[in-house]
């Protein structure tokens, strides 16, 4: 059994390790290591298309994860207070947002936005006082909206689990001592759920930063890092892609490990 488990771990990590190793290869070969070099990193970071795609991805991930952390936490706190029926509706919609494949989310968002724009843009044109009415279209906004959907569901789920494990008595004690609900929230509840909010934010950021398929449908003419990498892969495998892939791996690794440390409880919880 030991041998089997070890080989599964090797299976999980060897391919990634190989990509990282060959990102430091001096030559172009994918099977022969001809010497250590960081030249491919220099080449990747000197590529202006790549750097602007990276900037787009960071901006989109930060914005969608921030919105998700705020609104998702609010939803988790609010859902506690809802009637069971309404809470069930929320639960079902959030579950749908997580479980529906990205390809369907991408398509549905694309179709709906294009339909809405086809009504809104002519209307804007007629009521706009100036010469050039603004044209709504696909772009950063639509990617942030679509990523925000999944991320909000994710944050809500994580924060809700944390709230469920909180002791009620300390909140009651606080209000018995005449603290206003807001004070109780600020001094008692928020400090206890903050790590899970941060973990949710980091996971949401990671999701958005890594997502290809949803952005592929709703990005319009904009390019995110995964879209850029995908396009480069189709042009051919080069060590430069290995260098980019390594940077992406390191970024996700740091984010996910921080999130896991934040989510760690004294008592082991479900939902690893």
């Amino acid at each position: 059994m030991r041998a089997f488990i070890s080989s599964v771990y090797i299976f999980l990590y060897a391919p990634i390790a190989l990509v990282v190793l060959f990102s430091f290869n001096a030559g172009r070969s994918a099977s022969e290591f001809t010497g250590f070099s960081t030249a491919w990193y220099g080449k990747a970071l000197g590529n202006t298309f790549l750097v602007s795609a990276l900037q787009n991805s960071l901006m989109i991930a930060f914005t969608s994860a921030t919105l998700a952390a705020i609104f998702g936490t609010m939803a988790a706190l609010g859902m506690e207070r809802l009637a069971p029926r309404n809470r069930a509706i929320f639960d079902a919609l959030f579950a749908a947002a997580i479980v529906v494949p990205g390809v369907v989310i991408g398509i549905a968002t694309l179709v709906a936005l294009v339909a809405v724009f086809s009504f809104v843009n002519p209307a804007l044109a007629t009521i706009w006082p100036g010469e050039q009415p603004p044209q709504l279209g696909l772009g950063y906004g639509s990617i942030i909206a679509a990523h925000g959907l999944f991320s909000m569901a994710l944050v809500t789920m994580i924060v809700k689990a944390r709230i469920a494990s909180l002791g009620r008595d300390i909140v009651e004690a606080s209000s018995d001592l005449y603290a206003t609900p807001l004070t109780t929230f600020r001094l008692i509840v928020l400090p206890q759920i903050l790590p899970s909010i941060l973990a949710g934010f980091l996971l949401a950021f990671t999701f958005s930063f890594d997502d290809f398929i949803i952005a592929f449908f709703v990005a319009g003419s904009k390019t995110t890092l995964p879209i850029y990498v995908f396009a480069s892969i189709r042009r051919g495998v080069t060590p430069e892609i290995n260098a980019i892939a390594t940077l992406v791996l390191v970024a996700s690794l740091l984010l996910i490990l921080t999130a896991r440390i934040l989510m760690r409880d004294k008592k082991p919880k479900s939902g690893e």
């Binding site: 990509v19 994918a30 609010g78 207070r81 479980v99 494949p101 549905a108 479900s270 939902g271 690893e272």
Partner: protein, 288 residues
């Protein structure tokens, strides 16, 4: 409670859930309605959508039978292979592993799931591509071995990509398992094998069902793995959808395929939840 405080309480609750509710309505419910409407429409001559009410798009589904066939075969097979590999790992982590290293070992399983699927799939493209293993094989005299762009490569990519997602829910259900039940079974004279099949396996079925359902559903919508490792020869519904929306711009037909896909997903979810519910009496779904 006085009426005034009750109203205030309701207002606060409404304010708390309002942004998420709006988001869910505008970016989940509305898009699904739009997709459903499009599925009954016609393709405009220049591409895109033209209002109509017709079942013509659904009648054309058989023209994409190959994509449906590949998906409907490789998604369940992939999920099954994932399960066969995942169960022993989850069992080891939950029951056998040294508690001191458990957290690290579990983290090592979770981390790949949260790192870019594109990069992880690329890794296999790199290994299976002509400059990878086939190149090594040619050095020992095996010429012209093709690994990339085969169903086997796609299956490998699937198992690689989704193994963590299968291990996690099974691990969680095994970890919750009450050890005293195993001891009781052994005390009553059951052999380890019959304890496993009589106690452990049935009690971990909710986790197994969650894992199988999640992996199958996500695989049904998979695009990257067949695209990069199947190279246009082994294509899924996801690939047909990208083609219809971004290349040939036949949105109504694409919507009809997507609606059909969602219908299949809903059926799988209902069956999985029913089985899990019947076995365990709970509906716990763990994802993260």
């Amino acid at each position: 409670m006085p009426v005034a405080t009750n109203t205030k309480r309701n207002l606060v609750t409404a304010a708390l859930v309002a942004p998420a509710a709006a988001w869910l309505m505008i970016f989940l419910v509305l898009p699904f309605i739009a997709m459903l409407v499009f599925a009954f429409g016609e393709r405009a001559p220049e591409g895109g959508y033209q209002a109509a009410f017709t079942f013509a798009q659904f009648a054309r589904l058989p023209t994409r039978a190959a994509a449906f066939w590949n998906t409907m075969v490789l998604a369940p097979v992939g999920a099954l292979v994932c399960l066969l590999v995942a169960y022993p790992v989850a069992y080891y982590l939950a029951v056998k592993a040294n508690p001191r290293y458990r957290l690290i070992l579990v983290s090592l399983v979770v981390v790949p799931f949260w790192t870019s699927l594109l990069v992880r799939t690329y890794a296999w493209m790199y290994i299976l591509g002509s400059r990878g293993i086939p190149n090594l094989l040619s050095m020992i005299g095996l010429e012209d071995v093709r690994l990339l762009n085969t169903p086997g490569a796609v299956l490998l990519g699937i198992v690689y990509g989704y193994l963590p997602l299968m291990i996690m829910p099974i691990y969680v259900s095994l970890e919750k398992l009450d050890r005293r039940l195993l001891e009781a079974s052994a005390d009553l004279g059951a052999k380890p094998v019959s304890t496993f099949f009589g106690v452990t396996l049935p009690l971990s079925l909710p986790g197994v069902m969650t894992g199988v359902a999640l992996v199958t559903i996500l695989l049904l919508g998979e695009y990257l793995i067949p695209q990069l490792l199947g190279g246009g020869k082994v294509f899924f519904i996801g690939n047909a959808l990208v083609d219809l929306f971004l290349q040939s711009r036949n949105w109504p037909f694409g919507s009809a395929i997507a609606v059909t896909l969602v219908a299949v997903v809903v059926v799988i979810l209902m069956v999985a939840m029913r089985i899990a519910f019947r076995v365990a009496g709970t509906r716990q779904v763990d994802l993260v």
